[in-house]
Symmetry: D2
Subunit: 285 residues, 4 copies
């Protein structure tokens, strides 16, 4: 990933000329498109585009933004530009389970995930040693019914002070307040330990056991005010059989959860995910 | 599959000696066990066993049954014996969709499924040409709210007259009466066009579209009085993405449905499936 | 799929302006891009693009072609244009195995595959009844070492007379001559009954059995002069275990073969596949 | 996993009475069989059995072994007995890549893998910090063409002194000498970074790139004197496409390797794997 490769994403209502607004602009400014993906949703009538382009010689980002804004405005486009090797700041929230956290930290360390983690926040002290080993600040913010507003306010403060661009709930086992959900809408990813919309609520693997299912899954989705019902980014699934007691389903589930969450985070930071009402468009690869 | 290979299955409450009741009997009668699988469910406290054995020289089935019954009685075992190459009579029920029917007929023809189909029953005439090509009697039993009891009574008559050992609902789009459900409990397999328990009811693929899911699936289960909630035998699943409109999900679903249903039928006729309360034990291979 | 939706594909050496050559042209002619995918292979330094666009009002195909050619010429682009609902003529070649043929015919019938089959050619008479049922002309062209040149010449004549745009070798068990391979290069798809490059040559499932593999697969690839080594379009794979004797591997393989071949044919006719030296670029969806 | 649950495995040439030798013995000694799996390979004519049984009250292991040996001798059975919660000592060998090691250590820590790791041995110092964090002795044994015999001799000494029951080559990038291979035959597991028998030798992911494959995989197998050709325990596979450059294939491969290796280790320590000539029998669950 070289310094002079950029990712431009945009979306707006479907209209003639939206593709050219992006590709024509890039061409006329001498930028070389390495990969391009656009999609028009016929039902929601919205347009989505992701272009990965190379700039040779000096690139004046400020000028690019100013001039592109003029084009984008005509279509009421929302757009974003970032270097391909941009390393976003990601705050991770956890409780006691460490399988998702461990996977994110490990993949980041070996370069499979290109993020910077300025803070791990937990309502429990248990995972501090893991954070320490990776030399990441760990904030223990205990919570009770009484202290929830204060705890969330501290939590929000950390997210802001660290300039987080993404918040990942890596098995954070507290229900967020409506207010915090709203603040995090579209830029916080949660892992739900079932294949939504099946088995919502508590103890999904026990529910699955009772039903005698032959597959278990997990869902990574954006947070919104509708608990566990935010737009789905990725889902993972594995076969199981009658020999899986609830604790075995939970163990199998852990593997699915960590893989699914890491995948969703990767899609997000590579700017592959777009909100499309309460669904998503994901330009995989 | 030679003539002298048999499958013996049994299940009962967990108790010391259940395995030996089967394996000791087979041994002392000189029968050679080729494959054996037993499982004790710690939660339901039930025992399940499936033995595939070879008999050399003359095999007196009557005598085997009489003597084994004495052993089985001690444990209140329910058991079944059949030649491995037994070709069960299977009645298939369909409506207008032919993807599941086509797969069953084709797999049967080429020997991947070892069944005899004495009747295909439908509430529509559409699939008669397909039945004709495979030279299978096709019964068109139209249905309306008024004629439901009569229709089901004719249907039941055919099932009985053909000595069907299994009934397969290969996308039969009518809700069965409680009475018929009860009669078919445990020996009729339905394919539900979603990954239960998500998306129950009508138009599951449209529901899935609305939710923006990233996987779709299908469930093969035994019929019981609890509509779409019978014990699950097999589930299939495939990834999808934002480019799948409802009709694309349906097309993808068709592939999953036919594969999942065929798999469940195969497990059943090979005596690999046991009821375990509202779950199943499936000794795959 | 409406009449006024078209697919334009193009590829050429990587160069600034290739994307705009397509997108700018479509925009300036008032064509609406519904889906767009481009990719630049950094290693082979080649550019690939597929645009699906809608034309409102009258569309002058001739004029489109003439004017686009002018643009394409500058980049030495190879390009193709077809209506999205184009139904290509596809000749299918078979021997005695019918699982792939059956799947293609069935998927075509129910509309999951949009092709016209003017001829099924076989070196054996066995599959004529199946062709008859689907009312497709069946050409029995027996072959021996002596008659190979004549047989291939008749075969080629049929392919030409039917205006076939694609030839599918659906388990055609004869090695084609170099000459015929060359003629079919890039527009004939073969299914190889193993996960290439493992188990080349005869009896791949027996080879797999000997090796005790835990997965079996199949490969759909373009024909070229390098037997079984043409560019890969799609591969399928399934887990197996110790209970699979060679005949079981073959049965499992059949399912993988037909699914993999159908998938490759679908990609090809939807113009999703590009040759990239001895590899392919496949814009899935 | 309670203390009084045991796993008994046995294998020998196929002969009448082999199942009863195990099940009859367990029954007559009052042991309760929770799970039982036997398989007769018709081609190699060998018999394999795995029984998981519960002993209530005091269990005299010595007496069990003595008496069972008498039965087993009649069939020339090779057999093993261990408590279900037995924690085998496993020595891990690595070079510079840490993805497999990290997965094994992590799964062991959270209890998904029940092993004790008395030593990590490497020809490089790189992974010492990881070993330190998990508080596991790390032996750095550098190697050169000249020092190979000495290095292997030290290595072997550690394996012996730690009473290792299993050796895992978690991407150990040195070819073992014939002598060491022979010593480790059947109780050392290697992860091969391709789906054997495809892409043997160096740089398999680069080979895969050149071939334009659409799937990549990994193979966990027992070490034997035939380099990379030992009996296969497990294989993993994932789809890839044209956007995967060699380094992307390597990254994808890492995920497959660690999952496949962990799975094979789990099968082995749960006594689910039997050698069957140069293949394996794996009683999964």
């Amino acid at each position: 990933m070289s310094d002079n490769t950029w990712i431009l994403t945009a979306h707006c209502a479907s209209e003639l000329g939206t593709v050219d607004a992006v590709t024509g602009y890039l061409y006329h400014n001498g930028h070389y498109i390495e990969e391009l993906h656009s999609f028009d949703d016929k039902i929601s009538q919205r347009f989505f585009i992701r272009a990965c382009f190379r700039t040779d010689g000096g690139f004046d980002e400020e000028k690019f933004r100013t001039l592109f804004e003029l084009r984008a405005d005509k279509f009421d486009m929302q757009w974003e530009l970032q270097p391909q090797n941009h390393t976003p700041k990601v705050v991770i929230m956890v409780s006691k389970f460490d399988h998702c956290l461990n996977d994110l930290l490990y993949k980041n360390k070996i370069g499979q995930l290109n993020i910077e983690i300025p803070a791990i926040i937990s309502n429990h002290p248990d995972l501090k040693p893991l954070a320490d080993w990776y030399q990441i600040p760990y904030y223990h913010l205990p919570i009770s019914a009484d202290t929830k507003p204060e705890q969330e306010s501290k939590l929000w403060q950390i997210i802001q002070e660290t300039d987080a661009e993404l918040v990942v709930l890596a098995r954070y086992m507290q229900v967020l307040s409506d207010d915090l959900c709203k603040k995090l809408e579209g830029w916080a990813i949660n892992i739900h330990h079932s294949l939504l919309p099946g088995f919502k609520g508590a103890k999904p693997y026990h529910q699955a056991y009772e039903k005698g299912v032959k597959t278990v899954g997990a869902t990574a989705h954006y947070i919104n005010s509708d608990l566990d019902e935010g737009p789905i980014i990725a889902q993972g699934i594995e076969p199981v059989d009658h020999t899986y007691y609830p604790e075995d389903l939970i163990a199998k589930g852990r593997d699915i959860e960590r893989i699914t969450l890491s995948r969703a985070v990767k899609y997000h930071i590579e700017k592959r995910v777009f909100l499309n009402d309460n669904r998503t468009v994901v330009f995989k690869d």
